[in-house]
């Protein structure tokens, strides 16, 4: 069990038949890393004494502190079974839900998996999840039932009870597998019904194992027909190991069958079949009989296997019977060092005995080599699945691509074979750990020498630094003279740069075909790369860097053998092995497919169990470190398969992670590795919208309000001489210089209209651009498609805006807002004032009204623009909490202009326009009558952008705000739709959490073939912070939500509501501060923005701290 040399591993890599790529999967804390430790110890990398305590593969500091694995890491082990030497590429994966993305990256690279189940806890949520993942990736699992010592020591079960317990666990695991199988069969059947007859063979799972599946038509019959017996875990098939990794023992029943067959003279094959199951040994007849349970006999497994272990534990740990231990050790043929046997902790002795008697690594590794497939045995179905991206089926891929399948199957390491590599993740490695920099002491010595010289010779110093930078071959580079290297004179800058680049990315990858060599050039296929297109283009260009979309070319600078914390440099890696590749950080983001053949399609994206849902906003502690943060976030995004980072329109840097623990790790990484600055994470800013509604018919306690306009009265603003509010909600406002008066009314838009406007924002924007261009006398070419779409939009608006109030409304639309394309409308209801509507450009395109357009164009925009600007400003920030408006129509019903000296440029509006204005002016006779209509085109134009336009903008804005406040105003909250998968037993708790957070369940249905329920609900974004975590905690991880933004919803309560009637006082109390959700949100936003919040500074005057002494 000595340390396996690198050469040995290199030799082993060349024989794919004896390579096993496998990963360890389990629920959190079921002992994955401990088992991995024992396996690592078997290769002499760590001491077997420390196995289980060291957690060798948990190389991160926080992993060690928290005691959970957070990343998948690989190690290559050597195992000799009889004549054969095996190379085992073991990948340890994390068990926590938050890191299930890491599991996905591990599973993709493997052919088999060791699934570990805790003997006490049984099947846990993550066990189900990993089984599903293994199933989806089509890799074969073997089972390890771990922590059997807990049954003995903690639960104090008898061996008989333990046997039934183990049976139950096995049943549970098989039930999960069974349900996966069932749903697969059902799915296949559904797919098959859709697909044509010829594709029938696509549906079966593993052709060798499920021959009956092709005939599946009737689902009940289908289940019976399809043979699933091979799928299940059963000790007699040899795919189950019982173990206690912490004590270092483990066995499969083969081992015991062999031991006992010699002792009892029963054939090993017979024993193998009967050792697990309802069999017992008839001592008299020396026969194995069936029906142990019915006859009350000890099953064979208990008698021959468990009893031995139990008595060992009893002797060593419980009773500490020295003599008995001696005897047992004799009979087992185990020799223990005196140091161990004298140790005061009996566990030490126990593990010393066990690890010699039934070493866990032997049992597990034997099973793995025996039962799990080698890279050569990859099923064609799995290959086809990997290669068919999206909905494309394998057969539809180009012929050359289909040919690559054989390359997969052969997995040959010939030079001729195309290289196919899949990178499942990128991880960061300290440059110090890279093998190039391994000979650190020597290099440093050299460096010191050189530095000595460099003090005299400037160029040499430069060169020395250069050499450390270009890490490769540093060890040997001592002889090279550095005089030739060029460089600037800012050495300090270079040194600091070198320090920054201490960390490099290494790709976590596997070779599926061909031989990978250092320095080899390969294509990198992006996820959207289409081989058919690529092939065509490459044929034409045939250069190394073809301009094919989603295809890049890169060099593999260095190859590594992954040995847990360490990396060993390799020259070449043959097919079927897991490896690390350096120098890809430029062209690979998170995962990628690499190949020498452009015909290869990118592999299907990794299947993530958990989608990122926990959102936080991240800021640097010192604002000047912003660029560092952005750089760090980019690196984090590359290094973490599951984290997402984005910059929002508000300027927030948002990090989205899979869960709280994952978030914590990301933040630590950012702080310590990627950004290296202090950062703070906070709740992200939650957007709201403001709107008005029709006056409600009932009050808060469902009393009929009748016809009274109570709401309008409440918002009665103090009237000044310039502002007038009439009870129907029309607000008239005069500018400070008394030259213009506008009357505005706010009307709620129907919900459908708001939706429509929101959905067609882009369209409206083009419309606006076209209108603008036209006003300038230019034409903007719009495609016929856009024109059609606009016509459709217009007609749909006409359909939706029906009724007396909205008569001709669509043609009278003046503008949209905010930003000219939002979901609010400015309506021109000024009597007699006709202006071209926003649809104007459409009509012109149709050839109508062409003559007048130009003449009008220059004139209208004089003051028209000010009104629109005022409207835009008003809709951009509402009066409630300065958030944008939504679904509000402002109808301008009066617009009078009068100038003390001259009636100006409005005359320059076309004839009808000036007429209309005359009419409107005469409406306010007191001011207008005295002034003759002196025309002065030029004078008006001068004033057009002067201070008066500013006053008009402000007046329109204020009028809109007041009009808005005259109506019952409401907040709109952003809503998530939330899809929750939960099992039946936690449904109640899911509903509880949803209810507490103002969520509303829309529907709930059971997923076919499983016992999972799918709940659809909506949840305000404002309440979503911490939601995912809470739901997970409350349901012990059995329910996992997914949140997607869906729509805006009006919060029904009025933020400015106070109880007024007797009933309301009774119901809500005098203050009613508990019930009003909208007020809470509004005040939150106002406080954040530094706006005035109507709140008392101290609640009770008398309950303040007394400052003066009370005499």
């Amino acid at each position: 069990m000595g340390h396996t040399s690198l050469d040995k591993i290199k030799a082993l890599q060349k024989n794919p038949a004896n390579v096993r790529n496998l990963c360890i999967l389990a629920h959190v804390d079921h002992g994955k890393t401990t088992l991995a430790d024992s396996l690592v110890a078997s290769n002499g990398i760590i001491s077997s004494r420390l196995a289980g305590k060291l957690r060798y593969l948990d190389s991160r500091e926080d992993e060690q502190i928290r005691g959970i694995t957070m990343k998948s890491s690989a190690i290559s082990l050597h195992y000799a079974s009889g004549e054969k030497d095996y190379l085992i590429n073991l990948i340890d994966s994390p068990g926590h839900v938050d890191f299930s993305s890491e599991v996905s990256t591990a599973v993709r690279l493997c052919d088999g998996a060791i699934v570990i189940v805790d003997a006490v806890e049984g099947v846990c949520p993550q066990t189900q999840a990993v089984l599903r993942q293994a199933w989806l990736e089509n890799i074969r699992p073997v089972l390890v039932i771990n922590k059997i010592d807990r049954l003995i020591m903690e639960l104090k079960l008898t061996s008989q009870e333990a046997y039934t317990h183990l049976q139950k666990i096995l049943e549970q695991v098989n039930a999960v597998t069974g349900s996966l199988f069932t749903s697969k069969v059902l799915e296949d059947r559904a797919v098959k019904e859709e697909r044509a007859e010829e594709d029938k063979e696509e549906g079966d799972i593993e052709p060798a194992e499920c021959p009956g599946l092709e005939q599946v038509y009737d689902w009940s019959a289908g289940l019976e027909d399809s043979d699933d017996s091979q799928l299940y875990f059963s000790p007699d098939q040899g795919n189950v190991v019982f173990a206690s990794a912490i004590d270092g023992w483990g066995f499969s029943i083969q081992q015991f069958a062999q031991i006992h067959s010699q002792r009892m003279g029963i054939r090993a094959e017979v024993l193998l079949k009967t050792l697990w199951g309802d069999f017992y040994l008839n001592a008299k007849a020396k026969k194995i009989m069936k029906g142990a349970h019915a006859k009350g006999k000890k099953p064979l497994f208990v008698q021959l296997v468990l009893d031995n272990i139990w008595s060992l534990y009893d002797a060593v740990v419980t009773r500490r019977d020295k003599e008995k231990i001696e005897k047992m050790m004799m009979s087992l043929g185990v020799k223990v060092m005196t140091r161990d046997s004298r140790h005061s902790d009996p566990k030490v002795l126990l593990s010393a005995i066990c690890s010699q008697w039934l070493p866990v690594s032997q049992a597990v590794l034997f099973m793995v080599c025996d039962k799990l497939p080698s890279p050569l045995d990859m099923t064609s179905e799995r290959i086809e699945r990997l290669m068919s991206v999206g909905a494309r089926r394998f057969h539809s891929l180009p012929l050359q691509t289909q040919e690559l399948k054989t390359a997969f199957m052969q997995c040959s390491s010939d030079d001729t074979a195309p290289v196919i590599v899949f990178v499942s993740k990128m991880f960061m490695v300290d440059a110090k750990a890279l093998p190039q920099n391994k000979q650190r002491p020597l290099t440093q010595e050299e460096m010191a020498q050189r530095r000595e010289l460099a003090r005299q010779r400037h160029t040499e110093r430069l060169a020395a630094i250069q050499q450390t930078e270009s890490g490769e071959g540093n060890g040997q580079s001592g002889s090279t003279t550095p005089a030739t290297t060029p460089g600037g004179d800012n050495t300090i800058g270079k040194v600091s740069q070198e320090e920054e680049e201490k960390e490099t990315f290494v790709a976590f990858a596997r070779v599926y075909s061909g031989v990978v060599r250092r320095g080899q050039k390969v294509f990198v296929m992006g996820p959207k790369y289409d081989p058919a297109q690529g092939l065509r283009m490459v044929r034409i260009v045939s250069a190394c860097l073809p301009p094919v979309p989603h295809l890049a070319c890169c060099t593999m600078d260095s190859l590594y053998l992954l040995m847990g914390r360490e990396l060993e440099e390799l020259e070449e890696v043959p097919s079927g092995n897991v490896l690390g590749i350096g120098g890809l950080e430029e062209c690979v983001l998170k995962s990628a497919t690499l190949s020498t053949s452009p015909a290869l399609p990118p592999f299907i994206p990794l299947n993530f169990e958990a989608t990122p849902i926990v959102r936080v906003a991240i800021e640097p502690k010192h604002p000047s470190e912003m660029p560092k943060l952005v750089r760090g976030m980019r690196l984090l995004n590359q290094a973490d398969p599951c984290a997402e980072v984005l910059i929002q329109e508000t300027g927030e840097h948002v990090l989205v992670t899979a869960g709280e623990v994952h978030l914590q790790r990301c933040l630590d990484d950012l702080r310590e590795r990627f950004a290296k600055i202090e950062i703070s994470a906070s709740k992200p800013i939650i957007p709201f919208r403001e709107t008005v509604i029709r006056p409600p018919k009932v009050d808060m306690v469902n009393e009929d309000l009748g016809k009274q306009q109570k709401v309008a009265v409440i918002h009665q603003v103090k009237e000044s001489d310039t502002l007038h509010l009439d009870p129907s909600g029309l607000v008239t406002l005069t500018t400070p210089n008394r030259q213009a008066t506008v009357g505005v009314r706010a009307i709620p838009l129907p919900e459908e209209v708001t939706l429509l406007l929101e959905g067609s924002a882009d369209l409206i924007r083009t419309l606006e651009q076209a209108g603008q261009a036209q006003r300038e006398g230019r034409t903007l070419d719009m495609s016929t498609w856009t024109l059609d779409a606009l016509m459709v939009l217009k007609s749909r608006l006409e359909v939706l805006l029906q009724g007396r109030k909205w008569r001709n409304a669509v043609d009278r639309i003046w503008a949209f807002g905010p930003r000219r394309y939002g979901p609010n409308i400015l309506l021109n209801s000024v009597e007699g004032y006709q202006r071209p509507s926003v649809w104007h450009c459409l009509e012109r395109e149709k050839g109508e009204k062409e003559g007048g357009a130009k003449a009008e164009a220059s004139a209208i925009r004089d003051f028209d623009n000010s009104v629109v600007s005022g409207f835009q400003l008003a809709t951009l920030s509402g009066p409630m909490c300065e958030e944008p408006l939504m679904g509000v129509c402002f109808s301008v019903e009066r617009w009078d202009m009068n100038f003390p000296t001259q009636r100006t440029h409005l005359d320059s509006v076309t004839e009808e326009d000036s007429n209309s204005l005359d009419a409107s002016v005469s409406e306010s006779p007191g001011e207008a009558a005295g002034h003759p209509e002196a025309s002065g085109k030029a004078g008006g134009a001068v004033d057009c952008y002067g201070p008066f336009s500013g006053q008009l903008i402000a007046a329109v804005k204020e009028a809109c705000r007041h009009a808005f406040q005259a109506k019952p105003q409401r907040l709109m909250a952003a809503m998530y739709t939330c899809e929750i998968m939960a099992t039946a037993e936690v449904l109640g708790r899911v509903y509880g959490v949803l209810g507490k957070r103002e969520g509303r369940v829309l529907q709930e249905e059971m997923k076919e073939g499983t016992e999972m329920f799918i709940i659809k609900a909506v949840l305000p974004v404002a309440e979503s912070f911490g939601f995912a975590d809470e739901i997970r905690k409350r349901t012990s991880g059995l329910a996992s939500p997914q949140l997607v933004f869906s729509h805006w919803e009006v919060i029904s309560s009025d933020p400015s509501w106070v109880p007024t009637t007797e009933e309301e006082y009774l119901h809500f109390g005098v203050k009613a501060d508990s019930a009003n959700q909208a007020l809470k949100y509004m005040n939150g936003v106002r406080r954040r923005k530094g706006l005035y919040v109507e709140e008392k500074i101290v609640e009770h005057g008398e309950k303040q701290r007394t400052l003066s002494k009370n005499k």
Binding site: L589, A617, E619, P620, K621, H622, P623, S624, M626, P627, V630, M633, R634, N637, E644, V645, L646, I647, Q648, E649, T650, G651, E652, H653, S682, I685, E776, R819, N865, S869, A938, A941, V942, C944, Y945, G946, R1087, R1088, K1089, G1090, L1091, Y1092, E1094, E1095, K1096, I1097, V1098, H1100, G1101, E1102, Q1104, T1106, L1107, S1108, N1110, K1111
Partner: protein
């Protein structure tokens, strides 16, 4: 003369005095601390929560109650509640600690919000968050002046912040249309005011779309109006030139 005996003394603690001079006399009322501002802003509606006692004094600290005659002479009524309300509304007071603190806090926030709204990170063309601005303001030890408007102070803050972080006013996008005659001449004059010229089109008239600092708007406007005698025009295309939509970092 009032008699001071320990038995009929009522001692008030935590007094905030509101004074008013009317009719040549000084009137004072005794209020609770931190309450008067809430009353004035309308947040506190219960008068008893504001007033320690409904009597009006000539001098609160000496306990001299105002005479009825003086009151009715000065206020025209002897309804103490009405008089108290008037004094509360119009009298002068010393702002209490919490009131001042919350005032300063609000205006600090307000300034930060204005800065965040007006400014962008010139590298990304994206706004900074209010939080970040607040922190930066604290870093440069900016102290709020209670007697200056928040807008004024925000402009001041922007200037000071430029030293510590990458920040600038978000540019305005303008379209200038100048008649051909003056075009060339005017362009030279405008040049120092424009930050970026996005497009330039010289046919029968010069048309430019450009980004300018919002501070220069008035100047440009003036220049165009005066120089072209009303023939040139200027149009605001957008008030703030910022990146829209979310961006995924990759």
């Amino acid at each position: 003369m009032s008699i001071f005996t320990p038995t009929n003394q009522i001692r008030l603690t935590n007094v905030a005095v509101v004074r008013m001079k009317k009719g040549g006399k000084r009137f004072e009322i005794a209020c609770y601390k931190n309450k008067v501002m809430s009353w004035r802003s309308g947040a506190e509606k219960d008068l008893d929560e504001v007033l320690q006692t409904s009597s009006v004094f000539n001098n609160v600290s000496k306990g001299q109650v105002a005479k009825k005659d003086d009151l009715s002479k000065a206020f025209g009524t002897d309804d103490l509640t009405e008089i108290c309300k008037e004094i509360l509304a119009k009298g002068e007071l010393q702002v209490s600690d919490k009131e001042r603190q919350s005032q300063l806090e609000t205006s600090f926030r307000d300034i930060a919000t204005i800065v965040a709204e007006k400014c962008v990170n010139p590298e990304t063309k994206r706004p900074y968050t209010v939080n970040l601005i607040e922190r930066a303001m604290k870093d440069i030890h900016y102290s709020v002046k209670a007697n200056k408007s928040t807008k004024q102070q925000a402009l001041e803050v922007i200037r000071q912040l430029k030293d510590s972080i990458e920040i600038q006013r978000a540019h305005m996008r303008l379209r200038l249309v100048l008649p051909a005659k003056e075009g060339k001449r005017l362009k030279e004059k405008l040049k120092p005011l424009l930050k970026v010229v996005e497009s330039e089109d010289f046919d029968d008239q010069l048309e430019m779309v450009c980004l300018v600092d919002p501070g220069c708007f008035r100047e440009i406007d003036e220049l165009i109006r005066c120089e072209t005698k009303g023939k040139g025009s200027l149009e605001v295309l957008s008030l703030k030139d910022v990146e829209e939509g979310d961006e995924r970092l990759e």
